[in-house]
Symmetry: C2
Subunit: 315 residues, 2 copies
């Protein structure tokens, strides 16, 4: 991977302009230019004559350079596109997928102007959250589409646990929940033939440091409001991509069993009485399984029912 200035700047001590220039294979004047452009993005960089440059602080913005530092993924995050503002990261990712971008390409934006959730619901995406989409070509039958999404939810839960120490829950199929409120939602879009998914776009929204929109406080919560202080979006995203990279390799190797077990390690659902508005009507019953396609198996008054889609709530 191409190294950038951030790979060589150090927090805590000075690095000479000469050394930076030789590491990057550019002139000292070019180093100076790069330092100034980083400053424009909010990086504080001290410079002293004859000592060189010292990184004082970095903004918590998920720049590709920040994510890529010390991260060598097999698939997820090999290519990253960052936008200050975008209509929707899913739309952009879809466009890239149609242009056959590298598998695992990530599109991330500080603000989504028209973020969307499942079922055409709007998804509030102000500054401070993590709003990103990932392009995948899973070569699995479309019946496994839900499992692709669940793999992403698991990676989000793993990352939240790793970075904050909190223990999130996954609500079927893929909301990540803390204190019974949503910290993360996932919107998957796919193009498929009968036997094979051509591409799958996983759109992920995590409420990190952002304010929760008026009227949504009963159902949504931010990590910052739980932990009590600012969470590094860069660290959280990096952790998520790292976990997804590990899980996704297992998924495409058709190790559905492991993915299902990982999912169950965050989803306390077996034996629970729930209600779900499936395609046709409200159904309630006791969860007896979630199968390898990600579908809910419910024991109801009328016998066993397999739920392929819907919104669920615990009774």
């Amino acid at each position: 991977m191409k190294k950038s200035l951030l790979d060589f700047l150090l927090e805590g001590r000075f690095v000479s302009g000469e050394k930076l220039a030789s590491n990057l294979g550019i002139s000292r004047a070019a180093v100076w230019k790069k330092v100034n452009s980083l400053r424009k993005y909010g990086y504080k960089i001290k410079s002293i004559k004859n000592k060189g440059y010292r990184l004082v602080s970095r903004p918590d913005i998920p720049f590709p350079e920040e994510i890529k530092t010390g991260f060598n993924p097999k698939i997820i995050g090999r290519e990253i596109h960052y936008f200050k503002e975008i209509n929707s990261t899913n739309l952009c990712a879809k466009k890239l997928a149609n242009e056959s971008t590298k598998e695992g390409t990530v599109v991330i934006a500080d603000i989504q102007l028209s973020g969307r959730g499942r079922k055409d619901r709007t998804w509030s995406s102000p500054l401070g959250g993590l709003w990103f989409s990932i392009v995948l070509y899973p070569k699995l039958p479309p019946e496994r589409g839900m499992l692709v999404t669940m793999t992403a939810s698991v990676a989000v839960a793993q990352a939240i646990k790793e970075i904050t120490g909190l223990n999130p829950n996954i609500k079927w199929p893929n909301d990540v929940i803390l204190y019974k409120k949503k910290v993360c939602g996932v919107l998957t879009e796919m193009e498929a033939e009968m036997d094979r998914i051509n591409y799958s776009i996983i759109g992920i929204g995590i409420n990190v440091n952002n304010e929760i929109e008026e009227g949504l406080h009963d159902i949504a919560i931010s990590l910052k409001s739980i932990v009590g202080n600012h969470i590094s979006r860069v660290k959280l995203l990096k952790s998520m991509l790292k976990h997804l990279d590990e899980n996704y390799v297992k998924l495409v190797a058709k190790d559905y069993k492991t993915i299902r077990e990982l999912w169950f390690s965050f989803a306390d659902i077996i034996g629970k009485k729930i209600q779900v508005n499936d395609e046709k009507e409200d159904i309630s019953g006791v969860v007896i399984d979630v199968d390898e396609s990600g579908c809910l198996i419910l024991e109801t008054d009328k016998g066993q029912v397999r739920i392929v889609s819907g919104d669920m709530s615990f009774l």
Copy 2:
């Protein structure tokens, strides 16, 4: 629906130019022009001064005007595009879907230059067969994608039965079979979100009067070679679209039970010992069910297995 000259021309007796002109709301000179352009397409039309025009014979070409005559569908075939030659009807249908064409739009071609089957296999599409695609917006979860395809297979089987008197079989999931050889294949492509199919393109190829390509005689067969004479492609297509129109209305009303029963009426599979190369490996077992997502339920040595995709053969 807009009437065309073919709606008013009669086989067997003359219709005056004056009457045709008034029925169509055009001049007699314009009628003459239309008659000549039909002749170019292979329609034999006799014209005698003071008597008018008489349709002697029509070519068996699935022109929109031919299909639309006497056909008032709810959804399927309200819009029809005919091509003498095309790269692939599915590609064209996909393009129309992305432009939000009317649901049920049919794209048909006499010849496909690069027809494709499942798993990127080529699909031979010479003159004489029926090669067409249908644009659907089923508003069902993607888990029901296979059922959409099965609904189309059923309509093909119904049409073949109605027009030829033959009794075709459906081989899971959707090949239509006569004398153990393929008369029809279906290739479905879809774009979906997790909860909902955005569009589904059903590509259908029926071996009607076409020659079977060298090397495929062991696995493919044409209706003409079975019946012994030319089959009207226009009648067959019209019948298929009519049946699909009926079945599809039930499908989108989520009457999966009826679709499944219709499918079973052509698929003699329960209790049969089969082998299927599913996603991971070859599996053999006895079919105990096909569920409401269209998946095979097999009883195997290792217990019950649900097959979501694969090629099957009877043992």
